[in-house]
Symmetry: C2
Subunit: 332 residues, 2 copies
DNA sequence: CGCATGACTGTGACCGGTCACAGTTTTACC
DNA sequence: GGTAAAACTGTGACCGGTCACAGTCATGCG
């Protein structure tokens, strides 16, 4: 069993020097056509693969990005959103032959480890997922000068950190407008946590669009989970039985709301219409299928990766705001 | 802005040589107490962190494991199972200061890339998630001698590859026994794909426990997704309206079955009882809450990591089989 | 007291790439 | 035909660790 071929083996096989092989591998500029084909042929024959560690040591770049989760456990468990983003990011990176390392910063001990790890330069940058307001981890990353891109505008750090987000306010207005156009009048909202962008700005959009008809008694807050949506819906029902539509800031909360309404003997959408947000996998298969705002997950993850890579390359790209699309199904 | 401190800086600060610092870092054997405290103090003062790439280059180990997903897109989207395993594995590794890199092998191109990547030794081993029968990727990994641990026994490779699995047959028998004890007689099964361990062995357990009462007309196959569960349930209903209970091989399929039953005007569990498998996040919040078999996700991921690390260290550990627990809720 | 053993320390080579630089050949143009 | 620029190639140093080995010193024992 021979050891793995190195760049020197390839050089020998191709009859050129290490330098030339290295040049071929990295774009092939200033390499003669002859040398290039010789090297490519030699790489094929030897089955050569570049050693990540060696390259990383020499170039000073890790060749990987971190996917940093700061959410508490139960949200990750339920929310298909994370899985979508994760997969999208992994694929976008694979195309650039970089890798994604998953970091979990749930407990304080984990947060410390993660901070240490990232500062140590083990990754070139961080894809930060959905952090709550004034997350100290964001400060720490910024202070340490670690290139970071957030998904959703981190409250308390607006404009300090690069983001890819959807037009939260506009999306919420669009959904609200849709509900009003369908004739619903007493519309409630199950908002997300007020210290998350999705919680804050979707509520803002809802309030703006409702105008004079806005009734703060018809607003409840959940944590995006199905359970919290169910609870929020019961509180809404307790306060006003004349509610005829509910806009939830996540599909999961919408599903929870539907469950509560059913238990209360109300039909969806005949008695109360329910709209969600995300268009996560379950929205289409839910009973009834959920009307929701689709977030362009693939474009979000691709955007985060591309922004972060630009940032790492020293550019100062603009934040990205993506549009959502209204998906009308049966629940509203 | 100074560059990051290296082991040489620490050595200088502590008044010892590189070798001694290295020894302190790696367990501290054959180091005098004086030297040790001096080095530890110097590490603190300089804020030194070991360079992953350099260590990796010198030792020949990557210091990371791959979490390899081979499932098609829509399953990952829906199934909370993956997220649980992923998170568990990431945390188990973080404790050992190793990292998890996420690899996605969906398309043929991705599979080729992944195979190449893994063979190149960019990771020390692979945590392989839920592969279908005779997956060529398994062959390739085995052939390349890459340490691999599977979650669930990969059909077609039994006993060739190390696994962490639950007692599928026993679990299915337990659930079936429970249903029969509750008095259900015409029990159907929505099995998983027959080329996956969960599809095959849960059906085996069901059949064994049903004995003479087993009726192959009451078995349908899904792909673990909610939609497939709904479809399977309609096929079952078409064939026999006297069915009084259904055992689904996943919670998602159970949820789909419930939806179909509802549409058909049947109540759960009064007309037809429904049981699931996994105890995924949604099982408890589902309407009605699902009776299911809980898989010990944390122990599974922890087991996979520990087995894989042993394998990497040259040991030949035994496969692990873990027990499940029956969780009785309202659906059956 | 001499010598073996064990505890501890320092040194140089090496892991497998990249990069800057120097050297060589080719082309372009006067 | 000479010269400068451009195109291409090879070499040695370096990235930051680990490891084997050689060396020093103290201790124990015959």
């Amino acid at each position: 069993m021979r050891r793995k071929p190195t760049i020197r083996d390839v050089a020998a096989a191709a009859g050129v020097s290490r330098g030339t092989v290295s040049r071929v591998i990295n774009g092939g500029h200033w390499v003669s056509p002859d040398a290039r084909v010789a090297v490519e042929e030699a790489i094929r024959r030897t089955g050569y693969t570049a050693n990540h560690a060696a390259r990383s040591l020499a170039t000073g770049r890790a060749g990987s990005l971190a996917f940093l989760l700061t959410e508490p456990q139960h949200l990750l468990f339920q929310d298909p959103t994370f899985a979508l983003l994760l997969r999208g990011a992994a694929e976008a990176l694979a195309q650039r032959s970089m890798t994604l390392v998953l970091l979990v910063a749930g407990t304080p001990a984990e947060r410390a480890n993660v901070a240490h790890f990232v500062r140590a330069g083990h990754v070139d940058g961080v894809l930060l997922i959905s952090s709550h307001e004034a997350d100290p981890l964001v400060d720490e990353l910024l202070e340490a000068g670690v290139p970071t891109v957030c998904c959703g505008i981190p409250l308390g750090h607006e404009s300090q950190v690069l983001t890819v987000s959807v037009d939260e306010v506009g999306s919420a207005r669009e959904m609200t407008r849709y509900l009003r156009n369908r004739g619903y009048r007493r519309i409630g909202m199950i908002a997300g946590p007020h210290d998350t962008p999705g919680g804050k700005f979707r509520l803002v959009g809802f309030e703006e669009e409702m105008g004079a008809d806005f009734d703060s008694a018809l607003v409840e807050e959940g944590d995006y989970s199905q359970e919290s949506g169910a609870l929020a819906m019961s509180r809404l029902l307790e306060r006003s039985r004349d509610i005829d539509a509910v806009f939830a800031a996540s599909d999961l909360m919408a599903a929870g709301a539907v469950a509560t309404l059913r238990k209360a003997g109300l039909r969806v959408p005949d008695d109360v219409a329910v709209a969600g947000f995300d268009d996560s996998g379950m929205a289409a298969t839910h009973e009834p299928p959920l009307t929701t705002m689709r977030q362009p997950w693939e474009r979000i993850s691709e955007g985060m990766v591309s922004l972060l890579l630009q940032l790492i390359d020293g550019a100062l790209p603009e934040p990205i705001t993506l549009p959502t699309t209204l998906v009308v199904r049966e629940s509203a």
